[in-house]
């Protein structure tokens, strides 16, 4: 393919001329490529078979761990939720939990239920996002459009609850920012009913579509033992037969009191991963219903911790009574947190998120370490993709629901 000029050492701007192994065809998929997202996969092909895949990530590395170290304790919350903007409550909740562990503070039960409600709304939206992207990766544009259209329903629900479509900044240490508006329970029940009906239509056009089933079954198989060795998380892990979910393993918030199941599949292929997502949406809808029912019947408790609420000045209490909205006292901005090391984890839509927060007693965190589900799933590209054909790459990529900004932080 290379002409004589290139081999003779000619340089073309933007290109690199180097020798590669004989018989191996090296292609660079991304970052500007319809099948790559915000990353690059360097794929080496032997014929049509991938012999080596090297994920080159870091195209969206926005240095959140470093920036968290120079901001006051509350400010990393909006910062960190930008890494998974489509799953904003789930991604910041463990950080808040870690702060609460350091401060020995417990949120009020009502706040816990509100957090869980928003987390599950986000989980449904996040799964729909993943399924839409997956659909378009294997050429099914209708799935993309349907999933993104129905995702708007849940974004609207989140907007009614928090005031923002995507970046809610909802949980704060000791509680949440706002109480639930009056009309939310009705909206949520309608959304749940609608989504249950739509899932049936998804099954008809996508999950049971003969072309899709043929395309996905037996592709990207990760066995149970291999999944454990690679340390992958979330729906990908549960599709391989490992029954692990942080909501069950180490229940945080009020997940221990709620009634839900963890769907587990044994096949470990791309189709099973899709099915796990569909089933998890169903479970999340159940949780939304339970949370809304509880919130409707238990009114009156403040949405922040009792000791914080008592300290609020009179004006702020009036605002809370009138609008259900918590106004911060300025002292929050420069609050100090006792020295110590804390670890917190939570279950995002894509899997387990892990926070390590260390305080030296100052006004900013000493160290915030965050390991996101996508960062742990990235290893799949290196160890599972080789051996498949090139056309399987988008199927595997879409089925593990990899979201580069989350992985790169």
């Amino acid at each position: 393919m290379t002409s004589g000029g290139l081999e003779a050492g000619g340089q073309i701007p933007g290109f690199i001329v180097k020798k590669i192994e004989k018989e191996v065809y090296e292609i660079f998929i991304g970052p500007q490529h319809p099948g790559s997202g915000h990353m690059r996969i360097i794929v080496r092909l032997d014929g049509d078979i991938i012999v080596e895949a090297d994920p080159d990530i870091g195209y969206v590395h926005r240095t959140m761990e470093k920036l968290s170290e120079v901001r006051e304790w509350l400010k990393p919350i909006p910062l960190l939720e930008r890494m998974t903007i489509i799953d904003a409550c789930n991604v910041t909740l463990p950080y808040v939990n870690a702060l609460e562990k350091l401060m020995d503070k417990k949120p009020s039960t009502r706040a816990s239920y509100l957090r869980v409600l928003l987390c599950e709304i986000n989980r449904v939206a996040s799964h729909l996002y993943g399924m839409g992207i997956f659909g378009v990766f294997i050429g099914h544009s209708t799935m993309y459009m349907w999933a993104f259209g129905d995702r708007e329903v849940f974004l609207e629900l989140a907007e009614a609850l928090t005031g923002a479509r995507l970046t809610h900044t909802y949980p704060i240490p000791g509680g949440v920012r706002r109480d639930m508006p009056q009309e939310l329970p009705g909206m949520a029940r309608r959304a749940v009913r609608y989504m249950r009906r739509r899932l049936e239509e998804y099954r008809k056009i996508f999950v049971d579509n003969p072309v899709i089933v043929k395309r996905l079954s037996g592709v990207g198989v990760i066995s149970k033992s291999r999944a454990v060795e690679l340390g992958i998380v979330g729906p990908n892990l549960r599709a391989s037969g490992v029954k692990y979910d942080v909501r069950i393993a180490e229940p945080y918030e009020v997940y221990g009191e709620l009634d839900f199941e963890i769907p587990v599949f044994e096949e470990g292929d791309a189709l099973a991963r899709t099915w796990v997502r569909v089933e998890e949406i169903k479970q999340s809808l159940n949780i939304i219903e339970q949370a809304v029912n509880w919130l409707e019947t238990h009114k009156g408790e403040p949405v922040i911790a009792k000791e914080d609420f008592d300290k609020l000045p009179k004006l702020h209490k009036e605002v809370y009574e009138r609008e259900g909205r918590v106004k911060f006292v300025p002292a929050h901005a420069t609050m100090k947190i006792p020295a110590g090391k804390a670890v917190a984890r939570g279950e995002m839509g894509r899997g387990e998120i892990f926070y390590y927060v260390e305080s030296d007693g100052g006004i900013t965190p000493y160290r915030v370490r965050v390991v996101t589900p996508s960062a742990r799933n990235a290893i799949v590209f290196k160890h599972v993709v080789p051996g498949h054909t090139l056309m399987d790459l988008p199927a595997i990529y879409g089925s593990i629901d990899y979201f580069p900004p989350e992985s790169d932080r």
Partner: protein, 165 residues
């Protein structure tokens, strides 16, 4: 399984390897020497801690050390799922070097050790593919997550030196 039992079990498994075992908020920290970390990790893995959630490094310029912690947990043992054990090792700050644990924990630490390498400059001996993961070469050489790399901050504290000596 409660928290006392797990401390007991870790103590039994590690024997004399552990220099210090203490509960932090949310995890059990086990401090070992860099020379026998592979042995300790192998023992923890045989106990059922089969994957690593996070390879966390923290820079302590005052004590001139970098602490690398492997936060391990279990997928296969249901009673261990709720606990996290942090296997820590202290490395000198000027030439941090330790054996890679890819041979023990395989894929779950492979990319995260690359991250620690590029952010802190910790060299993992025996790592199959040690090169920067997220950063470009120029930044990786600056060891950006160490405390002596300071980013500018415009805030109400502007002008106040923000420094960890």
């Amino acid at each position: 399984m409660n928290s006392e039992r797990i401390v007991e079990e870790v103590k039994n498994v590690l024997g004399g390897l552990a220099r210090e075992i203490a509960w932090r908020k949310g995890y059990l920290e086990v401090l070992v020497e860099a020379t026998n970390i592979i042995e300790a990790a192998g023992k923890l893995k045989s106990m059922g801690l089969d994957h690593v959630k996070s390879v966390t490094a923290v820079d302590y310029p005052k004590e001139s050390k970098i602490r690398v912690t492997y936060h391990a947990s279990s997928y296969s043992r249901e009673d261990l799922m709720g606990f996290i054990v942090g296997l820590s090792v202290d490395l000198p700050r000027d030439n941090p070097e330790m054996p890679s644990l890819v041979s023990v924990w395989d894929g779950s630490v492979e990319f995260q050790e690359r991250e620690v390498y590029e952010f802190f400059g910790v060299t993992f001996k025996g790592h199959p593919d040690l090169r920067p993961l997220l950063l470009i070469r120029e930044l990786a050489e600056k060891r950006v997550l160490r405390k002596d790399f300071v980013v500018k901050e415009e805030s109400i504290y502007e002008g106040v030196p923000f420094k960890y000596d």
